[in-house]
């Protein structure tokens, strides 16, 4: 059995109970850190052994649900995706995601993220309403067409991009990198026919053009979505929509299969029941 070196790391965790605290403060907790241990593991240790009143969001613990977005050592990260050792500090400072109100301790109020996302109509929009209501088959999409939007579909809605965005920090009305990148995700999906409806939604006073390409959103994104790229491509789409450019026709229905493969016969059971 290999010997794992244990080291004590100080977790400096933001605490805030709206019922009794006027403003957030820091609690300090010594945590034994070992190789491979994540910040989320540290928070669980604190909750189970040191202070059970600590509140934080968590679910999958594997970087796919987006629940545990936090400001870790002054940078928005997923707690489950951040190893204590990779931070290379004696003290790990954990705070709630910035640009969101705090519900309690490390739990941010993500309604701002979800409302702006809902506003941009994040679903496939088609003009053939009957097909949408009663689908008769799949829509045709080539691997190249999938590549056009695939990376933007990896978004797990963790909120790290909005937390990092400097425009979101000053302008509370700004739509934010998540909503804008997801607008591009749907507008560039070959199955979608909603560009004409969505672009005017984001082409507003506090919309698309208030992005100044700081790129902090792409730097913070834990899934490699690169929302900054999506937003700049959306700007291009918006400008081309005005100065000219061929409108893409939405993907047609995939043709039915011409031949059906013959079904294999069901094998005979090897264990016979009496």
């Amino acid at each position: 059995m290999s010997h794992q070196e244990l080291k004590i790391v100080k977790f400096r965790v933001q605490r805030f109970d709206p019922v009794q605290d006027r403003k957030p403060y820091f609690g300090e907790y010594p945590v034994s850190s070992s190789k491979g241990m994540t910040v989320l593991d540290g928070l669980f240790y604190i909750k189970e052994n040191l202070d059970s009143s600590l509140s934080f969001r968590t679910s999958c613990r594997m970087g796919i649900c987006g629940s545990c977005g936090m400001l870790i050592n002054h940078f928005p990260r997923l707690a489950c995706h951040t190893q204590v050792e990779e931070l290379r500090t004696e003290t790990v400072e954990v705070r709630s995601l910035p640009n969101f109100a705090i519900i309690k301790d490390l739990v941010p109020d993500l309604m701002r993220l979800f409302e702006k996302h809902k506003y941009i109509r994040p679903y496939i929009l088609r003009s053939d309403a009957q097909e949408v209501e009663t689908p008769s088959g799949e829509f045709s999409q080539s691997p190249q067409e999938l590549d056009d939007y695939l990376q933007f579909s990896y978004c797990i809605k963790c909120g790290c991009c909005l937390a990092a965005c400097p425009t979101s920090a000053t302008d509370s009305a700004f739509l934010g990198p998540h909503a804008l990148a997801q607008t591009y995700r749907y507008c560039s999906d070959s199955r979608d026919d909603g560009t004409k409806q969505r672009v005017p939604l984001v082409d507003s006073t506090h919309g698309l053009w208030r992005c100044h390409f700081a790129g902090a959103c792409s730097e913070a994104c834990p899934k490699g979505v690169d929302p900054a790229l999506g937003i700049q491509l959306l700007k291009r789409k918006a400008v081309l929509g005005v100065v000219g450019g061929k409108a893409r026709k939405p993907a047609p229905l995939a043709p039915p299969l011409k031949e059906q493969k013959p079904k294999l016969p069901v094998p005979e059971l090897t264990i016979k029941r009496s």
């Binding site: 425009t167 009305a173 700007k235 005005v242």
Partner: protein
């Protein structure tokens, strides 16, 4: 007006102002460079040189176009900064910036035009 039109105008004015500003800077401040190309326009800020430009229809048109494009470009940028800092006051900021622009354009056109006709 949809924001995308304002943005496209910002791009167009940026490109055009680059050339107009370069002309203005060369004319006003780079006499030595012009002398190198054997172009002697004299002292550009002297009274005679200024009156010569003021009586030229081409220079009048140049400066009026330059003024309008620079004002649009600068005030659009200022408006964006202000509405980001004060999102609740967007309409008031728009009104203020438009008013500032109109006043600056009117005063800016009046002066050279008056010189031109006199």
């Amino acid at each position: 007006m949809r924001e995308v039109y304002l943005w496209i105008l910002q791009l167009v004015t940026a490109v055009v102002v680059f050339f107009l500003l370069a002309t203005h800077m060369v004319l006003m401040h780079l006499k030595e460079i012009l002398n190198f190309f054997h172009i002697d326009i004299g002292e550009p800020t002297s009274w005679t040189s200024m009156i010569q430009r003021a009586s030229s229809g081409y220079w009048l048109a140049f400066y009026i176009i330059f003024l309008i494009l620079v004002l649009y470009h600068g005030l659009y940028g200022l408006r964006n900064i202000l509405i980001e800092l004060t999102p609740a006051w967007s309409r008031q900021v728009n009104g203020l910036v438009i008013a500032l622009g109109v006043v600056a354009v009117v005063l800016g056109i009046y002066a050279p035009f008056k010189l031109f006709v006199s």
